[in-house]
Amino acid sequence: MSLDFKYGFDDFFRDETFVDDFTYRNSPQNIRRFPFPFDRDDYMYSVNMEPHVPGRKGSVFEKTFDVDEHYLSEMRDRARVLAADPLRCQSLPHMTLAGWDLLELIMETKAREYPQWFSLTKDGNRWHWINRPLGIDQKFTFLDESTLPYGPMEYITRQTQGDFTLQDEREGTLWVDAGMVTTQADWSLDFNIGMNFHEWHAPVPLAHEKGIFDRALKFLLKLQHGSPVRRYNWTMTVNPLLDTAPETYPEWGHMRTALTQENMGNMMHLRVELQTLYRLPRSNAILFDIRAYLGKFEELVQVPKWGRRLHRVVRDIHPDLATYKGFIRNRDAMALWLSKYDDGAPTSPGWWPED
């Protein structure tokens, strides 16, 4: 058994790359739905969590698991990364049940929300999954690993945009004991697997002192099945690299030195992570979905409010955050480029493009 994709690129699903010639970009419609993460003109860490309920039509919040124009190319990039380094997907032995929980959640939700692309039919534990964009037609037995070409977590996350980690709850904290991580902002699953909530967050500056992780953990331990929550995180990425792993840092780190005022608009990307958290029913594990969206500076400044605001956030960010996020060396050049799009006019509260 194997999982062979037949990519159905068409007018909607773009055929593009996240390496080498970097042909990734957003269509004009997709720029308007970019999840711009700043609801005001400045930024500091906070316990920013809200219920993950359906949002505005057309926005990335409309559906539970957003499928957008980059879907097929992202799945191809994930397969490329996994072929080079299988350690990007790992599951400790006690996490298999949580993997089935995850597979069920994604299959049921996608089949319901995108019936034109996905279908799931069940006859007891005999399930039939169809993923039309990737050309997959799979019959298998739910909870029987031998009937799928990969373990349940790997099988379904090779077909789903976003990184995924599964947290076991023990001893009053969460343990990151499984994950599919190929689109990460510079952290290593292989190094972090088995750590608890405070350990894996150890490198983050300022937030521990502000009590943010204590409060966030308390909140998460109360998370209920059926009531997922979401939050944003963001960083900056030079070139549309989905895979900015520490493992491959020697391959992509030098790109940070190539920025000029001329190429800034095309090369510098705001990388937004829409993070959603779910309590899973059988395993009681917590699912963490980290969905990365890349927007070129030249794309984002097409929305005047975003251009003004991005300039102010980058210009005024705490240097410890810019250092941690890896853009301190380029911060002034970025602010200079963005300043052309900031006329000083006031911006409206909230992150939506027009209001």
Partner: protein
């Protein structure tokens, strides 16, 4: 509090206390180098009957310190000297097969030894409340190269060259208990060839 003074650090970095005798039917000690002194001090504090229920595994420290004589003189029920940390860990695996789940476990010496012993002990399900750790002796680090995944033992200098792939790495405080290792990251990934002079950070 620990007797070794470590500079302020992030919270994934392990912290160490001071060994104290606790009641138990079996007492397992794993020590290297100057850790022998912590074992001796504990025996001094403990009820004399502890001796007859104690098993000590010892090896010399990465700085060459060998205090096996002190261990041998304690008169523990069982005590063995291993040729190196890896051979000590093989012995430990065998000893743990016969160790009761309510045993008291004492780890002391360098971080590399304590981290690996703790990893093996915890993998067998021993509760970590029954594991005590006290740092003694050398502060050299066991470092995993995040790029090639190779482990370099006894790292003193920062940055240093990965003993496997040859990349120049800086040593983070980020620590994985599963790997019993700190993380090393390429220092000239951005500015190729610009490698600052190495400083002896760990002795």
């Amino acid at each position: 509090m620990t007797k070794t003074e470590f500079p302020p650090s992030i919270i994934s970095r392990p912290v160490y206390g001071q060994l104290a005798p606790r009641p138990g039917a079996f007492h397992l000690f794993v020590a290297d180098g100057e850790g022998a002194e912590a074992v001796v001090e504990l025996f001094d504090k403990a009820d004399p009957s502890l001796k007859s229920r104690a098993h000590i595994l010892y090896t010399a420290g990465p700085n060459g310190t060998d205090q096996w004589d002190k261990i041998a003189a304690l008169g523990a029920n069982q005590a063995q000297k291993a040729a190196s940390i890896p051979t000590l860990l093989f012995r430990l695996a065998r000893v743990l097969q016969d160790t009761p789940m309510d045993a008291q476990i004492y780890l002391t010496g360098t971080e590399g030894l304590m981290g690996q012993a703790e990893r093996d002990v915890m993998a067998l399900g021993f509760p970590h409340v029954d594991i005590q750790k006290e740092h003694r002796g050398s502060t050299v680090r066991r470092v995993q190269c995040v790029h090639c995944k190779g482990i370099t033992e006894n790292v003193r200098m920062d940055p240093f060259q990965c003993s496997h792939c040859g990349l120049h790495l800086f040593v983070r405080d980020h620590y994985s208990r599963r790997l019993a290792a700190f993380q090393g990251v390429n220092i000239d990934a951005e500015d190729k060839g610009q490698i600052p002079p190495a400083v002896e950070r760990f002795k």
